[in-house]
Each structure stands twice: as structure tokens, then as C-alpha cells.
């Protein structure tokens, strides 16, 4: 199990959260902590995604057991848990990427705006457009920066150069990359640094204007500075999008998320508002995991 050394919250984040958040609601502050404070507005927001009693098998082997989980609008949900506990699997259920794997069997429901994703009538392609995904390893296409961001629109048949230009600029700005790459849009994306590539992948996901952004350990291959930038970005993005993020980094989960869900051996052990989870977990095993006394 890998848990990073504790490190101070990146400086800009404090300013940001102060700028973004409404004043913290006192009754939520169970204990004094340096953690980000969940917006009261988010707590009452309607759920965008509802996972209902979800089971999943890879062939004969069951990987998820009866998961029940809500993701509220404009919130950040962190999925944590030891390696192999099914975080990625659950994340990939949310945009049906598991369909691409042979032998996967799923039972239960995932509701997006009240509509079951696994209903046979659902068009997977248009569903995936509503769910942006950012992968653990940055995976830009071997194309130019511009073409990477424009890809999602191009495959939807968008040809109008003005629309594409506008979307590329908006998305790169949204991903905080615009200033760095505005002069080299026609250069290969593979020439960017690792952190820039990851933000490019975020921009690429933003370009198709998804409702939910799924991130699978987006910072695990990045250095602390690049990680800090992505975390800032997540803070900005949640104003517009709903975010589900898998992370192994407890500090990161504490810093960026409003809600946290802890998984163990394919089961959802507990889920709660992040502060409560980190300060006062209900289950013993959660506390062990969070404090690093696990195993």
C-alpha cells in the first residue's frame, strides 16, 4: 500500500478555497483541521449519479459487491481504498468503459439524471460524451495539441473551424494550459511535460462539455508541483462539473474532495462528507487505512 508522506497543503489552494467557498458552516467543523471545507450548498445538491446495488464480475470472479453510492451535483467525490479493491472498476462502470473488456458481467443500476446507464436502449456513444474521463497515465494522442483537444468534437462531426478554435481555447483555458501552449498549438502533444500532458487530457475531456468528469489517479505520475496545479484545477472545475476522482493520496483526497468513499475488497465500507470521514470515521478499518496503520 502506498500512502504519500504528509505534506502541507499547496499554498494557492488556501486562497482558492477562500475565494470559492461560501463561509464554512460551523456545525460541520467537528475538529480544527487544515482540510478543505465542504460547501453547504453541495451537501444539499441533488444527486447526478446514483449507483444502486451494483455487482460486477470479471468472468467467474466478483470484483464489486452491492455498491450503493450517490454523487452530488458540482461536488468532488474521492474514491479511496487499497490497491485492487475495485475503485477503477467502479469508475469505469460509470461511463461503461468496462463494456470493452470481454467477460464482464454487471448487475444493478447506475442512474444518470434518473436514467439507467445499463438500459439496453441507452446509446453508449452519446453516454460517454456526457462522462469525461482522465486516466492515470497521461495518454495524449500522437497528434498536435490542437487536434488532441478538438478530437472529441471532430468525431462528433464538427467541421466549423471557428467552433473548433473556440472550443480548443475554452478547454485549454479551463484546464489552465492555454497560456503555456497558445503559441504551439500545432506542435505534437508528445512534446509537452508530463504535467502538461495530463492537463491536456483534462482539456480534451472538457472540450465535449461533459456533465461528469471521472479521474483515475490523475496525479500518480506527477511531481508535487504538477500535482498542486491539477488540484487547483479540480477546485475550479467543480464549479461547472461534477467530479469523481480515484486517489491513493490521503492528503489529496482530503484537500480536494467534498465526499469520500472508502472501498475494501470490492465492497463500499463507508461514505461520508470528507471532513467527517477524515476526522471521525465510523468504521475501525477506515480509520486504520486513513491513518496509514492499515495491514
Amino acid at each position: 500500500m502506498e500512502i504519500d508522506d504528509p505534506r502541507p497543503v499547496a499554498e494557492p489552494l488556501g486562497r482558492l478555497s477562500a475565494a470559492v467557498g461560501t463561509p464554512p458552516t460551523p456545525q460541520l467543523r467537528l475538529r480544527e483541521s487544515p482540510l478543505a471545507i465542504t460547501d453547504a450548498a453541495v451537501l444539499g445538491a441533488p444527486p447526478v449519479l446514483e449507483v444502486r446495488n451494483l455487482d460486477l464480475w470479471y468472468g467467474p470472479q466478483q470484483a464489486l459487491f452491492g455498491i450503493d453510492l450517490d454523487v452530488r451535483r458540482n461536488s468532488v467525490l474521492a474514491l479511496i481504498g487499497p490497491s485492487g479493491c475495485g475503485k477503477s472498476t467502479l469508475l469505469r462502470c460509470l461511463n461503461r468503459m468496462n463494456d470493452l473488456i470481454d467477460g464482464v458481467r454487471i448487475r444493478g443500476q447506475v442512474l444518470l439524471g434518473g436514467e439507467d446507464l445499463y438500459d439496453p436502449a441507452v446509446d453508449v456513444i452519446s453516454l460517454r460524451k456526457r462522462m469525461g474521463m482522465v486516466f492515470q497515465k497521461s495518454n495524449p494522442f500522437p497528434k498536435t495539441i490542437y487536434e488532441n483537444v478538438a478530437y472529441g468534437l471532430r468525431i462528433q462531426g464538427e467541421r466549423d473551424r471557428r467552433v473548433l478554435d473556440e472550443a480548443v481555447e475554452r478547454s485549454l483555458q479551463g484546464a489552465g494550459l492555454w497560456e503555456e501552449v497558445r503559441d504551439r498549438l500545432d506542435q505534437s502533444a508528445l512534446g509537452l511535460s508530463g504535467g502538461q500532458q495530463q492537463r491536456l487530457c483534462i482539456a480534451r475531456a472538457l472540450a465535449v462539455r461533459p456533465e461528469v468528469i471521472l479521474m483515475d489517479e490523475p496525479c500518480s505520475a506527477l511531481d508535487p508541483i504538477a500535482t498542486g496545479r491539477i488540484e487547483e484545477l479540480i477546485f475550479e472545475l467543480k464549479k461547472e462539473f461534477t467530479i469523481v476522482i480515484v486517489t491513493h493520496n490521503m492528503q489529496q483526497a482530503a484537500r480536494v474532495s467534498d465526499f469520500t468513499a472508502f472501498f475494501w475488497l470490492g465492497k463500499l465500507v463507508e461514505t461520508d462528507v470528507t471532513e467527517r470521514m477524515f476526522t471521525n470515521p465510523r468504521q475501525r478499518i477506515t480509520e486504520d487505512y486513513i491513518t496509514g496503520r492499515f495491514g
Binding site: N95, M97, L100, I125, S126, R128, K129, M131, G132, M133, F135, K137, N139, P140, F141, P142, Y151, G152, R154, I155, Q156, S188, L190, G191, S193, G194, C201, R204, A205, V208
Partner: protein, 533 residues
């Protein structure tokens, strides 16, 4: 075992040495083969000294071509290239070494390359115009050398008219003949007189042209050289029939280099002469390149599409595995079998049907119902498709899974992902397949012999007459040329260097095509993986 040796083994040094040795051996063999071919071929164009020997039967002038040392009771022998086939009956002759005495290098000895009967060895006796002597002896040689370029140019002009204007008129007349034949079945009274008028006009132009050509030909024949062999026989011939005058013995290094360059250029740029044993092989180079390009254009899409389905869409099961095995084994089927298939299916079945459907007025003369460059290329495309399929499958499998997932996660369909991400990513691998296919296809001869190659093609598959690309035409090919010149030639001794040269050129063509593909591949690779972290 000493610790030193054990340590040496443990590091795998033995294996390193073994592999290096095997590689060196392979390089040596290939280098030796290419070197031999190059030496035997390229040396042929160098002007060799013309040696005069005394023999019991009189003086003999020739190039020393070969030498056999004395062995056992047999005395040593020397082979001379004596030329003058029209006078002596054969170009090459063996002499016992003891019979050749007093070698000298006469200054006025001359090799005359002619457009007929091979070379003439001897000297210039006179230069004549309209049968009257202009100059004699060495002065005649100098004047002949001076006038030769002009005479050659005039001759080339005649050839151009014969091939160009006469050819065009013939094509037009043939078109009228075909239309008349078509009219017999669907009579059209209005068209008939138009055709008559057009034909009359063409025929009168034809007659004009004939007149002009006759005049030019007569003009060209006025200047003649009187040549004398060393045994005293003489031969008079029009100057334009001389291709090159090479007074080897009095040429310095620059002069020899000039002759060498001119011969080499003739070889790669000119048409063959004398049943392919002389002149150039340009049509064969052209035919080879065009056939390979056509084959690639037909075979690569076929292979790529097949591999795409096999790798990306077909559900992995016993059927797919069986097909894969079959494809791999297809690469081991003897090429002549493909040739037979090409003849039976493409030429007779497909070509025959095309003729009945689209060219009925030309029957019984077949258009597509006989061998041609299209059928040959298709046959070779089939032959090389397994290579492309295997290479493409590997390349598709090597495209990283995370790139596909990124595309799918953005809402791309499988087909869009394949087209936009996977295929471009697999392109370098596909090009590797193309390179292997070209190398294999360019060297194949057997299937071509059944599907459209000829020893001498009257016209090329790409030329200036409409519709410019003639896929139905037969063509010449370097590989077949090697076989034809080397083993079917009436004058095999003279053809030997041609075989080496042609082989060298075939290698050069294959290498050039491959280098082009490798360049493209390198550029693609750079674009796909210029990762800088």
C-alpha cells in the same frame, strides 16, 4: 573450469561472440554476392585493350575475355572476343595459349558498336559520301568520330517519328476500324460517311509521313564507313548504324571514363537491341517499378483490411486461429502456383469476361483476356498479401490500449477509433509489411511468366497515348530479363555481363523502393513518438 572462464560464460560473452560471428558471416556472404555481381557487371562497360596476336592462321584482333590455365594434359586456353559475327560467325573464340604469339596493341585498332550484328573489331579504312571517298586511314576515323553524334541524332529523329507520329496515326486508324466493326452490328447511316472521310484524311497524312521518312532514311544512308577486319575482310555500313566508335588503345583515362559513362547511361536509359544482348534495359526497369507500385497499391489495402477485421472485429475462436494459420502458410505456397491461379482466374476468367462485356469488337484479339501488367500485379499482390496481413496484425496489436481507451472515452465509435487513432499508430508497422512485400514481389519471376511478362514489349504500360495508363499491356521485368538474357539468349557468351548488370539493377531498384518506404516510415515514427520528458 577456471573462475575467469566461468565468469566469462556467466556474462554471456560466449553468446555475444557467437551472435556477432553469425552476423559477420551473413554480412560477408551478402557482401560477397553483391560484390561479385557488381564487379562482373560494372567491369563490362570499361573499354578493354584490343590485343593483336599472331596465330598460325593469321593475325587476330580481340579483347581477352577469359583464361583457362593448363590442367593435366590439357594446354592452357585463352578466350578472345573477336566480334565481327557477320564475318566470322561467332563473337567469342577459344585459342590454345601456345598459338597466340606476339601480342601488340595497335594504335588504330577500333571497336565499333553497331545497331546490328554486335561489335566489329578492326579499323576504319575509308569514310565515304554517296559512294565517293571523303577521307582514308586515321583521318577517316577522326572524321567519323566527329560526324557520329550528328548522324546519331538524325537517326534518333527518324525513330521518334516512327514511334510518335506513325504510332498515333496507327492508333487512330485502329480506332476507326473498331468503330466500323461496331457499326456492322448497329448500322448508323450518318456516321458511315464521317468515318470514310476521316479515314481518307488519315491515310493521306500517312502517305505524306511515309514520304518524309523515306527521304530522311535515304539522307541518313549517304554517309558510310568502310571497315576492315584484321584478316583483310571489309564491310561498308551507313554511319547512323554505328552506335559508338571506341579506339580503346589510344584512349587515355578521361576518354575511357567518357566511354564508360556513355555505355552505362545507354544501359539504364535505352531500349534493348539484338534480342536483349545489347543496348539498354530501360523498359524492364520501368516495368519492374510500375509493377511493384501497382502490386503495392492493390495488395496493401487488401492486406490491411483483412488484418483489421481479423484483429479488431473477428471474435477470437478456432475459426480465426485457423484463418491465421492459413494466412501464414499461404506465404509458403510456391509462387508458380499463384501464377497458375492468376492465369486461370484473372487472365482467362476475369479478363475473358471483361473482353466479352466491354471489348467485343476487338475479339478474337484479346484485350484483358491475355496476360498484362494488371493481372501480373494482382497475382503478385495475392502472393504478398500474407506478409502485409501478418505485419499489420502485429502493428495493430502494438498500438497502446490506453490510446484506444482515451478515444472511446471521448465518445468515439470503434470504427472512428480505428480510423483516427489505431491505423495512424499502426502505419509504421504497415509500412514494414509493405517493405517486405515489395522486396518479395520485386524479385518474383515465375508467376509473371504466366501472367503478362514478355522478353520484348513493343510499348510501355504508361505512355503519351490516351488513356496513358494501359493496364492491359504486357511489360518487361528485370527478373524475367535476367532469365531471358542468361538462359534463352542465342548469344549467351555476350549476354553474361548483361545478366550481372541486370541483377545489379534489380537489386538497386528494390533497394531504392525500400529506401523510399523507410524514409516515409521514419518520418511517421518521428511524428508518432517524439516523446520528450
Amino acid at each position: 573450469m577456471s573462475t575467469g572462464l566461468r565468469d566469462w560464460m556467466r556474462r554471456g560473452n560466449g553468446l555475444v561472440w557467437l551472435s556477432a560471428g553469425v552476423l559477420a558471416f551473413a554480412v560477408l556472404m551478402i557482401g560477397g554476392l553483391v560484390g561479385l555481381i557488381a564487379a562482373r557487371g560494372l567491369g563490362f562497360f570499361w573499354p578493354a585493350p584490343l590485343v593483336l596476336f599472331e596465330t598460325p592462321a593469321g593475325p587476330v584482333l580481340g579483347e581477352v575475355a577469359d583464361r583457362e590455365p593448363a590442367r593435366g594434359g590439357e594446354p592452357g586456353r585463352i578466350q578472345l572476343r573477336v566480334g565481327n559475327r557477320d564475318l566470322f560467325g561467332q563473337d567469342f573464340r577459344w585459342y590454345p595459349e601456345s598459338e597466340l604469339r606476339n601480342p601488340t596493341l595497335p594504335e588504330d585498332a577500333l571497336m565499333v558498336e553497331r545497331s546490328e550484328y554486335g561489335v566489329f573489331l578492326g579499323r576504319v579504312k575509308e569514310l565515304r559520301k554517296d559512294g565517293l571517298t571523303v577521307s582514308t586511314g586515321p583521318a577517316a576515323l577522326d572524321e567519323a568520330l566527329e560526324r557520329l553524334p550528328g548522324a546519331r541524332k538524325a537517326q534518333a529523329g527518324i525513330r521518334a517519328v516512327e514511334k510518335g507520329e506513325v504510332g498515333r496515326l496507327n492508333t487512330a486508324l485502329e480506332a476507326i476500324r473498331l468503330e466500323r466493326k461496331a457499326l456492322e452490328r448497329r448500322p448508323d447511316p450518318a456516321r458511315q460517311p464521317q468515318l470514310d472521310a476521316r479515314e481518307a484524311e488519315l491515310r493521306s497524312r500517312y502517305a505524306d509521313l511515309e514520304g518524309r521518312l523515306d527521304h530522311l532514311r535515304a539522307e541518313a544512308k549517304r554517309l558510310t564507313v568502310l571497315l576492315e577486319a584484321w584478316d583483310g575482310q571489309v564491310k561498308e555500313m551507313p554511319l547512323p548504324q554505328v552506335v559508338r566508335l571506341v579506339p580503346s588503345n589510344r584512349l587515355g583515362l578521361p576518354g575511357k571514363l567518357k566511354v564508360y559513362a556513355s555505355r552505362l547511361w545507354e544501359f539504364v536509359s535505352d531500349d534493348p537491341r539484338e534480342s536483349n544482348t545489347e543496348g539498354g534495359i530501360f523498359p524492364a526497369i520501368f516495368g519492374t517499378v510500375m509493377m511493384v507500385l501497382l502490386m503495392s497499391a492493390l495488395g496493401v489495402p487488401l492486406g490491411v483490411l483483412a488484418a483489421l477485421y481479423l484483429r479488431e472485429y473477428a471474435r477470437d475462436g478456432w475459426l480465426v486461429r485457423a484463418i491465421r494459420v492459413a494466412v501464414n502458410n499461404l506465404a509458403g505456397v510456391p509462387s508458380i502456383v499463384f501464377g497458375v491461379f492468376g492465369l486461370g482466374f484473372f487472365v482467362y476468367t476475369l479478363g475473358g469476361s471483361l473482353d466479352r462485356l466491354f471489348f467485343p469488337e476487338r475479339l478474337p484479339t484479346p484485350t484483358f483476356g491475355t496476360g498484362g501488367i494488371l493481372w501480373a500485379s494482382l497475382t503478385l499482390a495475392l502472393l504478398t498479401v500474407p506478409v502485409v496481413i501478418v505485419a499489420t496484425e502485429e502493428a495493430l496489436a502494438a498500438v497502446p490500449r490506453f490510446q484506444r481507451e482515451a478515444s472511446m472515452a471521448l465518445g468515439a465509435t470503434k470504427w472512428q477509433t480505428l480510423w483516427n487513432i489505431v491505423l495512424p499508430g499502426a502505419m509504421p508497422g504497415i509500412l514494414t509489411g509493405l517493405i517486405l512485400a515489395m522486396a518479395r514481389g520485386a524479385g518474383e519471376v515465375a508467376p509473371l511468366m504466366l501472367t503478362g511478362v514478355v522478353k520484348l514489349a513493343p510499348s510501355m504500360p504508361l505512355d503519351g497515348t490516351f488513356p496513358f495508363l494501359h493496364l492491359d499491356r504486357k511489360f518487361m521485368h528485370l527478373g524475367f530479363h535476367i532469365y531471358d538474357v542468361g538462359f534463352q539468349s542465342p548469344n549467351s557468351e555476350a549476354a553474361k555481363p548483361m545478366v550481372f548488370m541486370t541483377t545489379l539493377l534489380l537489386l538497386a531498384v528494390v533497394v531504392a523502393l525500400n529506401l523510399a518506404a523507410i524514409r516515409i516510415r521514419r518520418r511517421l515514427r518521428a511524428r508518432l513518438g517524439g516523446s520528450t520528458f
